[in-house]
Amino acid sequence: MSALVIRGVRKRFGAQEVLKGIDIAAESGEFIVLVGPSGCGKSTLLNIVAGLEQPDAGDVEIAGRVVTRVPPKDRDIAMVFQSYALYPTMTVRQNITFGMECRGVPKRQQAEALARTARLLQIEALLERKPAQLSGGQRQRVAMGRALVRDPLLFLFDEPLSNLDAKLRVEMRMEIKQLHRRIGATMVYVTHDQIEAMTMATRIAVMHQGAVQQFADPDTVYNRPANLFVARFMGAPPMNTVAARLVGGERPVAVIGAGRPDEIRLTLPAEGGPPPGWRNREVVLGIRPEAIAEAGRRFGAEEGSFSTLEAPVEMTEPTGAETIVMMRLGGEPVLGRVAPDVRPVVGGAARFAVDTRRICLFDPATEQLIA
């Protein structure tokens, strides 16, 4: 059974259409991440699922029941806000039990649920404090506790980690993921951070300009982005995208900077290549930086599925775990990720290995993935 179905949802604020027909279906127990740059409509969509906003068209279905006109309190959902939205005049205990109090849960049952949640989140020592007396991370836990204490059909998260410092954010990210595994609930999580999306989601909905660009599992979104927006949004550093020309006989060859003295020819793998109609046409070639490494790297692949090329090195960025190299392929700037101990000489040329299986081709007109 689908835990959540969003069908043709549209929303307009004045003249601006913020959601242009959204369709998403989540299975029970899934962790759906809505990710996109600010202003893409992801928070509006979450608010519509929560019932805090009304869609202009379309339906929201939670656990098989259409709830489009149902007020938030009757949707049986829990939500964690970016601002945490803890009630400032209540203690942590009252904050967590307020929802049960509103629903008339007996006191004894409330106490049991509170104890269980407090133990789960390790906030037992904080129960008598007011939110003002808590640190950012503690507030975040209490906000999670308020959602977890009930057993709702759906958990909604609205950028819950964006107010935490980097270290705490990574910790909480793992905790939320473990929590999801442990309780097996359906969760919808909004973020602008593509790393959170990659690490936590069972499926990612990449949103841009009020539309879902791609709705797929993290590996597909990362390796086979549906269009150039997704390719450039996911991943840090993002996918390299350069203009290229498809030529070749029995195996297609992508040429970067065709006609230049330093043109680069990449022979594409035989299977999964572009449809025949694309021979001798301009395309946009996308390749992840980690698919370009120092010469000699085999990418765990058979001979022939990677090529070696020589390119001028413009800049290196040693990050500790790897060295990021900015080079030129056929005149186009491209990033590669080489081993940390490899430090190509800036200004000189170096040899690189390219994993040609990981090349994506896009239509330059529609920006959609071809192959």
């Binding site: 929560a50 938030p72 309190k73 601002s83 939205a85 009630y87 209540m90 509103c102």
Partner: protein
Amino acid sequence: MPAGTAAVAGVPPLARPAPARWRGWLGRLAPHLVLWPPLLVSVLHVVSFTAYTTWISFTPSTLLPEYDWVGVQNYVSVLNSRNWKIAYSNLVIYGCGFVLLTTALGLLLAVLIDQRIRAENLFRTIFLYPMAVSFVVTGTVWAWLLNPGIGIQHLVRGFGWAGFRFDWLVDREMAIYTIVIAGAWQASGFAMALFLAGIRSVDADLYRAAQIDGAGPWRIYRRVVLPCIGPIFIAVLVILLQFAIKTFDLVRALTGGGPGLATQLPTLVVYDLMFQRGLLGRGAAAAVMLLLSLLVVLLPYFAYARWRKRREARHG
């Protein structure tokens, strides 16, 4: 304009033309020129006259000031006068009634206006308007409205309900409540504005969280919003209470303190002693006691405000 900024920053300050330097100096001086003279004048005014009144209250002054010392004699005779006792018990009834009714009405209006109604600005202005009217006008208008011969009672009887009675204005027991009504009519818009500002400053996410927690509108206000604006409650109560203590012109215009002494208030007693009976010393004593009752309200409030500020500073 990075280039332009760099050029200005590059000019050494001494090379600036004289008028610019003058203007800078004047610019720094202007706030002081604007702030200090009025502050000095009002401090001199308030403090010196308060001190003078206090001094007079210890003298046997009658129609004109005399500067002999009679100790607390004026205080004793004012405190023992029936007039003063009635005025103070009236003040208690009026003060409590006015503050409670005004707070309740103001809060109700604020909550109603908070419901994202149409023409909110219009309603806000309408409810705030009475505050712009002088108390004398309020008193006069309500004197007409409450006058049994020409006001509400007359109107309702005109509709055919011949037995309708609404004659509180001339009723010794009820007259004080007419002051409460008129005062609340005038001030509840002001209380509304303060409450509304408070309600609007509550983080919108709190409403959303409470909605999702399953709270209805009444519970959201009672448990989430109103506790958040606790400090505003205290501010409203204190402001209204000192309004009540200072009330003078409203009563003057509405009932003149009557019927009999039924709506006599301490401010009217002060006026009466000083300017009607020519007993400056006693009038001053009554005025000083009035000032003390104001301080009883205001000092704890200032202490509370300071305490809150310090607590906030500690918790960040």
